[in-house]
């Protein structure tokens, strides 16, 4: 059974989370604050941590900054709606995903499944030579992209962005993360704009429309995610 650690100080929402996760057959451990949360993470080695950003003893962002590199687990941060900047910061610091309160149960379970899958592929390592999702095929050896078995031309930047998203399939990548991983500069406004244009071109080449984002899903103001549904 997969282990999930919940770090949350609100008793009621924690009870709801525990009920939901246990009925979905996960093993749940819980902590009320950041310090005991860290200790439990070290002693129980859970697969996933659900971290509330507003803890009594820690600012959630600080917690991630301090412990991210010590913990193997995927971290899913839980934020209130108006803590938008915090959400982006948490992702930049290495959180794997986020949930916005109030969220519905199905959404939470979906996020958990994605995180587990992502962890699996991280353990195996991306040694595969080819990636396939729906009509899209990427050949990592030849650096080629096919849609419906027809090659589509991508610029080197577009290719890099696409493969970065694919390698993080299911995970929301912030603009800063993508820019740093692809053209490697510190992220300024013109980079952000360039990234948006790259994304627009990619979407067009992948023939996806705003009403059915088949491959790349936009999280406005946060970043992009390669679809995994």
């Amino acid at each position: 059974m997969k282990k999930i650690l919940i770090i949350e100080d609100d008793r009621l929402i924690k009870q709801f989370l525990i009920t939901l996760l246990e009925t979905s057959e996960y093993e749940v451990i819980e902590a009320n604050d950041g310090t005991s949360g860290y200790q439990l993470a070290m002693s129980h080695n859970p697969e996933i941590i659900l971290l509330d950003l507003g803890l009594p003893d820690y600012d959630g962002i600080e917690w991630i900054k301090q412990y991210r590199h010590l913990i193997d687990a995927s971290i899913i941060v839980v934020t209130a709606k108006d803590e938008h900047a915090q959400k982006v910061k948490a992702l930049d610091l290495g959180a794997d995903d986020y949930l916005t309160k109030p969220f519905n149960p199905a959404e939470l379970l979906a996020r958990v499944r994605v995180a587990l899958r992502h962890q699996q592929s991280k353990k195996v390592g991306l040694t595969q030579q080819e990636f396939k999702y729906k009509e899209l095929t990427i050949n990592f050896v030849q650096n080629r992209v096919y849609l419906n078995n027809v090659e589509i031309h991508t610029t080197p930047i577009e290719y890099q962005v696409l493969t970065y998203l694919v390698k993080n399939q299911g995970r929301v990548c912030t603009s800063t993360m993508i820019i740093k991983a692809t053209w490697g500069s510190s992220c300024n406004e013109s980079d952000a704009q360039n990234l948006r244009v790259v994304m627009a071109n990619l979407r067009r080449k992948l023939k996806q429309t705003p009403t059915s984002p088949t491959y790349i899903v936009t999280h406005v103001g946060v970043g992009y995610r390669f679809n995994d549904e």
Partner: protein, 499 residues
């Protein structure tokens, strides 16, 4: 320059005396009495002192006039000797009279000059203070003062004012490329007294503080060959005027702020009293329903239970939406709507909006969007909020199974968003009021709760903060069309990156 003036003055003296002598010779010829000749010379000295600036010329002319009179017109002629002792008396009187008149005239001249200067200064001050009271903006007041002083001093001046609540100075410069010495300006601010700083032997930097009762507000500074006391006094007086004008501006702003504060407070009270009732109703439903379920679990069949729980879910969602809207509204009022403006892409905004309606099965949302990539500067999340609000309204007020269109049209430099429904539409009266706060229309569908009337007023606030506009029109044959328009990012309409 000085030599020329000297030559000119000497010329006046020479011509004057020559003319007087020739005239006197003629008078002597036709046997006029000596007294006339004396008066002629006195008159000449008088005229010379009026024409020529400088006491010495008058004095010199007096002596020469007496000498000439002695030499040419007293016995024995053509010698400086005199026969009669009477003449010495005449000479003395003549000399005395001419010297005294020249001194008096000189003094008069000087006083007239001082009076003229004074008048000019007063004129400058009057003009400046008149302009101050006409000036509405601070910049205008400063400009007026700079112009006034510039004309008077014939020299550019600079004014550096401390920005309120900030450490920085704002510079108003009229001199050509002056080097700003911040250290001296700060020093002058602190000392609140005039500072002179000799850059070279002839050029001096002057710093005048602009001080009000609350402390130094800024510094007026200029580079000049040398200011005389009167100039310094005038500049100080002007600084005083400017300080008064600044103080006045400050209090006007303060008053404006407190008025705004009162307005905000009023709105807040109105908001709270307006919504507290509306929030209680769904809360009562939720609490009552859940309590009923807990108390009577055994007597409630599954169908009824599902029904009741669905009501709870609906009311909770309504509460969530309302609270979101209330919070947005309060945040806008608090911070005058701080936007996170970024280059944004239309299709991403549409994608996010549509994804939020993925679970809606009652209505069909049809999207039409241009092929090209449209970039525009906006707070994407806010625009998503507007679209979500408009679509939610459209769903609420149109029959199940109908189509709602979301059209995006690019027209020249504008991008236009349209949300079109096939619902009941709005009367002209409703159209006028639909963007007002707390104005809401009861949905025909009795299942739904009436809104708080905040959604569209928030949309309007967001769009207007983006310098756009939002309208409501009729849709043919039935329904409404909400339209808002934003500016496309200039010169970046189409951009591709290829490396």
């Amino acid at each position: 320059m000085k030599k020329e003036i000297l030559m000119k003055n000497c010329g006046y003296v020479f011509v004057g005396l020559l003319f007087a002598t020739l005239f006197s010779l003629w008078l002597d010829q036709i046997k006029f009495p000596e007294a006339t000749i004396i008066l002629t010379y006195l008159l000449t000295v008088f005229v010379i002192t009026i024409l020529v600036d400088g006491f010495l010329y008058g004095f010199f002319s007096s002596i020469v006039a007496v000498g000439l009179f002695n030499f040419l017109f007293t016995e024995p002629r053509y010698s400086l000797n005199v026969d009669s002792f009477d003449y010495w008396y005449t000479f003395a009187i003549m000399l005395l009279v001419s010297i005294v008149t020249s001194v008096i005239i000189q003094k008069l001249r000087k006083e007239t000059k001082i009076a003229d200067e004074k008048e000019a200064r007063i004129k400058v001050l009057i003009e400046i203070s008149r302009d101050f009271f006409q000036a509405i903006r601070l910049e205008d007041a400063v400009k007026a003062m700079e112009n006034g002083l510039e004309t008077y001093l014939n020299h550019g001046i600079n004014i550096s004012l401390k920005e309120s609540d900030q450490q920085d100075f704002k510079h108003y410069l009229t001199m050509n490329n002056p080097s700003i010495n911040m250290h001296k300006i700060e020093q002058c601010m602190q000392q609140a007294d005039m500072i002179q700083d000799n850059e070279t032997a002839s050029i001096t930097n002057y710093y005048f503080p602009i001080k009000s009762k609350t402390g130094s507000l800024g510094v007026l500074w200029l580079t000049h060959e040398g200011l005389i006391k009167n100039d310094v006094e005038l500049i100080e007086a002007c600084c005083g005027q400017l300080a008064l004008a600044l103080d006045r501006q400050y209090w006007i702003n303060k008053q404006h702020e407190s008025m705004m504060e009162i307005e905000k407070e009023k709105l807040r009270v109105q908001l709270l009293s307006g919504i507290s009732h509306d929030l209680r109703t769904p809360l009562s439903t939720i609490i009552g329903t859940v309590q009923t379920i807990i108390d009577n679990r055994a007597h409630i069949n599954d169908e009824l239970l599902t029904n009741l729980l669905e009501n709870v879910t609906n009311d909770s969602k309504w509460l969530l939406d309302s609270v979101e809207n209330i919070l947005s509204l309060m945040r806008f009022q608090e911070s005058n709507l701080l936007l996170d403006i970024q280059p944004s892409i239309v299709e991403e905004i549409v994608e996010e909006t549509i994804s939020l309606f993925a679970t809606i099965k009652t209505h069909f949302i049809k999207v039409s969007i241009p092929e090209e990539t449209i970039l525009f500067d906006a707070d994407s999340r806010m625009i998503v909020k507007v679209l979500v609000n408009l679509l939610q309204n459209a769903i609420k007020f149109s029959p199940v199974g109908s189509t709602i269109q979301l059209n995006i049209i690019k027209k020249k430099k504008n991008i236009i968003f349209e949300v079109v429904d096939e619902g009941i539409g709005l009367s002209d009266h409703e159209k006028l009021r639909v963007f007002d706060q707390f104005y809401s229309i009861k949905p025909k569908n009795k299942q739904q709760r009436q809104g708080l009337g905040l959604g569209l007023s928030i949309c309007k606030a967001i769009i207007e903060a983006h310098q756009g506009f939002i309208r409501v029109l009729d849709n043919q044959p039935t329904g409404s069309k909400f339209v808002f328009s934003l500016k496309v990012k200039e010169d970046d309409d189409e951009k591709n990156i290829d490396h």
